[in-house]
Amino acid sequence: MTHLDSELRILKSDILEMWRLVVLQLEKGKEALTNFDRDLAEEVVENEKRVNSYELKIDKDCENIFALFQPVATDLRLVLASLKISNNLERVGDIAASVADFVLDAEQDFNKEILERTKILEMYSIANEMLADTLEAFDNEDTRLARTMFKRDKILDKIDEAALDLVYECIITYPEQARNSLLVMSMIRKLERVGDMSKNIAEEIIFYFEAKVLKHKKKKQKEGDE
């Protein structure tokens, strides 16, 4: 193994660790909302610092690799992709923490009906699965799986679009939970972004493994070989 190979291996393992941590953050966030578990929500907020420090570490890894090894071809694509993936993961980490923060902000348990009708839990699950699948796609060089992000993101968009009316209905129906309904609205707006970030990450995975740039292409081309 060359020196560069061993540095790239470290970079990859850092990225994977960060990825797993962010996936876990989302999962815990969902559990905290479902069970109104304040301790768990607190933990998610606390752990955001760890996510951030991974991003800094990966930035530094990449900077060193550029400066010391001038990577080319697949090595170069890995370093470029890692930089952007970690940047997106950091943003997902932010979202996980702010959603957990909304849970902490609630003054009472969330009415199950509200969680049901606004589809927030369904949305949460889809977002979590999407991010977890980007990790799997990267780990298994599975660009087909990466390409599923573009369609799945649309489901999140739909839930987000429908949310305003549904939340409004909830406020009317459960006036004593008006504040919680508004919190749910805020969470939905945040979670919608996880879909976009998973798409960004998918583009980087495809760039890394296939050397194809999908950014700013028409949707049809992106979903391409499905």
Partner: protein
């Protein structure tokens, strides 16, 4: 990590010429240190301090301390200088195999050290040729002259020769400057492997090479050590403007 090598305020004069100006530097055990800097800045002179090869040049005057494992190698008995040169292997810019067979080139250092056990010598030759990533290419022609090898192979042979006497320090003066990219890559990978067992100092004009192989980098200029730090630091954010200018190619 303990320091394997250290110089404390070393000055070296070639006659009236002040070639090294108060160099203080500590080199950790099991590390690779690259020395960079423009031609004539004193890199090779500095390297030669550690096997006392400068002593062979007339009219040189050295002051200060040069320590190996904490002992001043300029204060040892002259009878121990041979031993010193045995613990410090050196590889030069141009491959310089002896006019002997491939096998004898590597065995030479063992024989002059009085080893006559043939099976030991054979084992050692194979072991070091493997370490130098040359074995597969030469195992069927060990009796052939070393001059029948390519430049890159000759250089790896010289590295094997240096390793055979089991030094603890290896000095390399532009070991890859005469080689093609593939041979250069092999030598660089080899250096990376070797640092688990040895302390290595490499002089190189190739900045990228310094980045790829070394843990520490020292930048010399006009006989001064301008900056010494972790290679990562030197190549991402050096502290001195001169270093920055040199590594970005904006020198002079």
């Amino acid at each position: 990590m303990a320091n394997k090598l250290e110089t404390i305020d070393v000055n070296l004069h070639y006659g009236d010429f002040h070639a090294l100006k108060g160099i203080s530097l500590a080199i950790p055990d099991h590390s690779v240190t690259a020395l960079i800097g423009p031609s004539g800045c004193g890199k090779s002179t500095y390297l030669r301090l550690f096997n006392r090869m400068n002593d062979l040049i007339p009219n040189t005057k050295i002051t200060g301390q040069v320590l190996m494992d904490g002992e001043d190698i300029y204060k040892i008995k002259s009878s121990k200088i041979d031993h010193l040169r045995r613990t410090v292997g050196m590889v030069f810019q141009k491959p310089n195999p002896f006019p002997k067979s491939i096998f004898e080139n590597v065995a030479y250092g063992l024989r002059v050290n009085g080893i006559s056990d043939n099976s030991f010598i054979e084992n050692q030759v194979e072991k070091t040729l493997r370490q130098a990533v040359l074995w597969e290419e030469v195992k069927d022609k060990l009796k052939k002259s070393a001059f029948e090898l390519s430049g890159g192979q000759q250089q790896r042979l010289c590295i094997a020769r240096a390793l055979a006497i089991e030094p603890t320090v290896i000095l390399m003066d532009e070991p890859a400057s005469a080689l093609d990219p593939i041979s250069t890559g092999k030598i660089e990978d080899l250096i990376f492997e070797l640092k688990n067992q040895y302390t290595i100092i490499i002089v190189t004009h190739n900045m990228q090479q310094a980045g790829r192989v070394s843990d520490y980098t020292g930048f010399f200029y006009l006989g001064n050590l301008i900056e010494f730090d972790k290679t990562k630091k030197i190549f991402t954010s050096p502290s001195k403007r001169e270093t920055e200018n040199y590594i970005t190619g904006r020198f002079g």
